[in-house]
Subunit: 303 residues, 2 copies
DNA sequence: ACTCAACAATTCAGTAAAGGTATGAATGTT
DNA sequence: AACATTCATACCTTTACTGAATTGTTGAGT
């Protein structure tokens, strides 16, 4: 196969149609340039120039090679630049894992600011539960995770990003609460949910919420009568909408609740207020080699 | 700038993710391969692989480089093949110069056979009068000429391709001939055209026809009463159609005559038959370096 | 905790390739 | 006919690549 310096030499001679002038342009002397062209011709098995001691002209094969040689050289230069830009973090791609709820709250904010502060960097979005994000962060298939504070795997570090609280979700106008019903929008003590059919987070994919709900119920002295498990907030809200029971969801999930669900703050007395705290964390692999990720982390520090 | 062997080395390592295996695939030993990758990384100013003694993985910069490196290498291979194909005449382009009349007779035949016999070769068509074709053949801007037997310039050689004859073109139903009129389609002695308004080929661009017409008139003892000059047959026929006079055109031009023009063979007695001969030649530059042209010439020899 | 196996990096010597200088050969020009 | 121009060749020096042997490091197994 020919070499890139040979292609450069060829293009220079083809444009100048003069070995001496081409050699000068290439910052070399004429004899080695002649030899390079001869080598190239030998490798391609054909004459590229018709040359006498008075005139140099392209052959048909040379005319075929010229535009292609230019294209190859251009692509090499562009590739060089692209790799440098990616390695400096100026360009690149970041895969973001996020929970369904973060997709409605923290993610859009982060993307908006990143689009301003780091143009040229593109984002690949993957909605994943926290544990799957953690796996992805270890394997490298996820660069940045927006997830719940679950136990971190080795090499993955995180920092708090947002706090939220749980609110009660009820079927609208339901009689589930009986005489303990509260006017729409009023805070509700968790005791009102005692023994009511509770739509619960699954222990595996949504252990963080599962444990938090149980802690809140225990703290309020209420019994959790779990009738159904689901791992995603939208699925739980769909059950509520169907009148199958009540559940607790992050306040930010109210924004995408279906019709037919009403929400109540949780009455914060008796120490419930301190327990009712949902954290969202930003997590990344400590050893990430993606410069765009490092740049994004620095950018996030500023807000 | 990086080199092609470095890109090959990079692609091999990126695909194998193992220096030893990649080295084997490249038919080399592992140490120089490691050095090639190091050189490439140095030239690009960034790590392309994250490597420990147990594991090799692509960095973001490496992942950016991989598809581009493949593309560059593919393009090099394709370029190599294309140049070889052009140099063998298997592919390529041939610029054909042709006169307006040849464009209706010899050219379509030649193109049809060439398309069968030399697929992969494309043709660039340029309608030119014979003298311009001759210039083009010398300069190299025309590879093959379909032209009249004019005086050849040095380096240009030719061979007869087709013979034709001149026929008389008259305005249909004209009274120009007076009592010498012949029934449509009947041969006409040139004497009938004595002193009639004659639409003539220009001396410069169509000297061959100009001289031939004058020879025919002289041989028939008729006086050529030239009233108009033109260099192209279609222009002369338009004048005839307008009733401005008579002219002589190659018989093959009858195929694209406008309505309102009638044709008569020239009466061949008194030695006119031998003079009335229009040659079309195939001409090319003896030193052409275009392999496709050489192949076409060989192909033409066969029919 | 120690040894072993795997694997990339380093060292060193030999060789192939690229560049430079001087010169030759061919072809128009004065 | 002498000269200028220009590409090709010969020869030498420097650079860069290659392979063999070796080292260093890191998981895995006992």
């Amino acid at each position: 196969m020919f070499s890139l310096p040979q292609l450069e030499a060829f293009v220079a001679v083809a444009e100048e149609l003069h070995f001496g002038a081409a050699a000068e342009r290439l910052n070399m002397t004429q004899p080695p340039l002649s030899r390079q062209i001869q080598m190239l011709e030998k490798k391609l098995g054909t004459q590229l120039f018709g040359r006498t001691s008075r005139k140099v002209e392209l052959t048909a094969a040379g005319a075929t090679l010229l535009p292609r040689a230019r294209q190859i050289l251009d692509m090499c230069i562009k590739t060089d630049l692209d790799v440098r830009r990616v390695s400096s973090g100026e360009a690149g791609a970041i895969t973001v894992g996020y929970t369904a709820i973060a997709g409605q709250s923290a993610l859009p904010v982060m993307l908006r600011r990143a689009a301003e502060g780091m143009p040229g960097v593109s984002f690949v979005l993957r909605e994943l539960v926290s544990t799957d994000q953690m796996d992805g962060l270890v394997k490298g298939s996820v660069d940045i995770g927006l997830l719940r504070p679950i136990v971190a795997r080795p090499g993955v570090v995180s920092r708090p990003l947002m706090q939220d609280r749980l609110v009660v979700a009820l079927p609208e106008g339901s009689s589930l609460l009986g005489n303990m019903a509260a006017p729409k929008g009023e805070p509700l003590p968790l005791g009102s949910l005692d023994r009511l059919p509770l739509l619960m987070y699954s222990t595996k994919e949504a252990r963080y919420f599962h444990d938090l709900v149980l802690r809140l119920f225990a703290s309020a002295g209420a019994h959790a009568n779990i009738t159904q498990y689901a791992s995603q907030v939208p699925a739980l809200l769909a059950f509520v909408q169907a009148g199958l029971g009540v559940t607790l969801v992050p306040a930010s999930a109210m924004a995408f609740a279906p019709a037919g669900v009403e929400f109540h703050e949780i009455d914060g007395r008796h120490g419930i207020q301190e327990l009712n705290r949902v954290d969202l964390e930003l997590a990344w692999n400590e050893e990430t080699a993606n410069p765009a990720v490092l740049r994004l982390l620095r950018l996030i520090e500023t807000f």
